[in-house]
């Protein structure tokens, strides 16, 4: 189980970086994946991405691969702990969404108010 301080919300950058690494990717690939999946809404700054990757490596949520032998760029992939963290975050986001939708009544009652 994670420490209690690790049960809070993941940042948007971390959540998307973890999602991108269900397949091995290098830094530039992560940035492109996140930009595409968010329809250009989330553009990770290289400094922010670099810091996040290092922290995630330290925590063991992602790991380094050396498979890209042609370009010799470092590739990363999510670990079991990382997958667990993503699942936890999905449950947390589900709770937020279902509570919000229940209060807003699925979006229809907003117009009725």
């Amino acid at each position: 189980m994670p420490e209690s301080s690790e049960r809070g919300a993941l940042t948007e950058a971390v959540f998307y970086i973890l999602l991108s690494l269900f397949k091995p990717l290098h830094g530039y690939g992560i940035m492109q994946f996140v930009q595409e999946i968010s329809n250009n809404r989330v553009v990770l700054g290289p400094g922010t991405l670099y810091g996040a990757i290092n922290t995630l490596l330290e925590k063991g949520w992602i790991q380094l691969l050396y498979s890209d032998s042609v370009s010799r760029k470092k590739e990363y992939q999510i670990t079991t702990i990382g997958r667990f963290m993503v699942e936890n975050e999905i449950n947390r986001l589900d709770e937020l969404l279902s509570n919000a939708r229940a209060i807003l009544g699925g979006g229809n009652s907003v117009q009725n108010i």
Binding site: E12, A13, M31, V43, G45, G47, T48
Partner: protein, 177 residues
């Protein structure tokens, strides 16, 4: 080739100026002690960014970081102590080194630490220069003291403006990341 001298204490103003120059076709290729050297090329080709690194550019941690940026299409143009100048082709979309509040706060704190330490040391040196002039009537010390004092004021002013930016970001962080 075009050369000009400038002195900036706020790196974001410097960045703004460099990008205005780039929009006119003046692309920075080197910086050293206030001297900016530009190549004249097509306007609007690059976006420039400045960053204060954690360590000197030739330290292994900095080399790893600069290599990472290079793999993302970011060119390392010039270094000046721990300050580095980067650029990226404007056609490749927006370019910001940091995209969230936490990493921006971290970068500003790095600047506060640097300006704070150098600023306070200048203040101490200035005071000791004044006292040397008083005790030994050394005119060289009298000439140096105001320079140290001026440098310390400028740096402490710079550190303070970063502290204000950090405070603003922390307030914003209570609402969003």
């Amino acid at each position: 080739m075009y050369r000009t001298y400038r002195l900036f204490i706020d790196y974001e103003k410097e960045e703004y100026w460099l990008n205005q120059m780039a929009a006119k076709g003046y692309n920075l290729i080197n910086y050293f002690l206030g001297l900016y050297t530009f190549d004249i090329e097509q306007p609007g080709k690059y976006i420039y960014r400045i960053e204060l690194l954690d360590s000197l550019p030739f330290a292994s941690s900095s080399i790893r970081y600069i290599t990472f940026l290079k793999e993302m299409g970011i060119e390392h143009i010039s270094s000046h102590f721990r300050w580095v100048y980067f650029r990226k082709l404007a056609t490749e979309g927006p370019f910001d080194i940091y995209s969230d509040i936490d990493s921006r706060i971290l970068h500003y704190s790095r600047i506060v630490k640097l300006y704070g330490i150098v600023g306070l040391s200048n203040l101490v040196i200035s005071i000791s220069n004044f006292s040397l002039w008083l005790s030994e009537a050394s005119t060289l010390n009298l000439k140096l003291a105001p320079l140290n004092l001026l440098a310390s004021f400028i740096l402490i002013f710079g550190a303070n403006s970063c502290i204000k930016k950090i405070r603003r970001l922390k307030k914003e962080r209570q609402l969003r990341e």
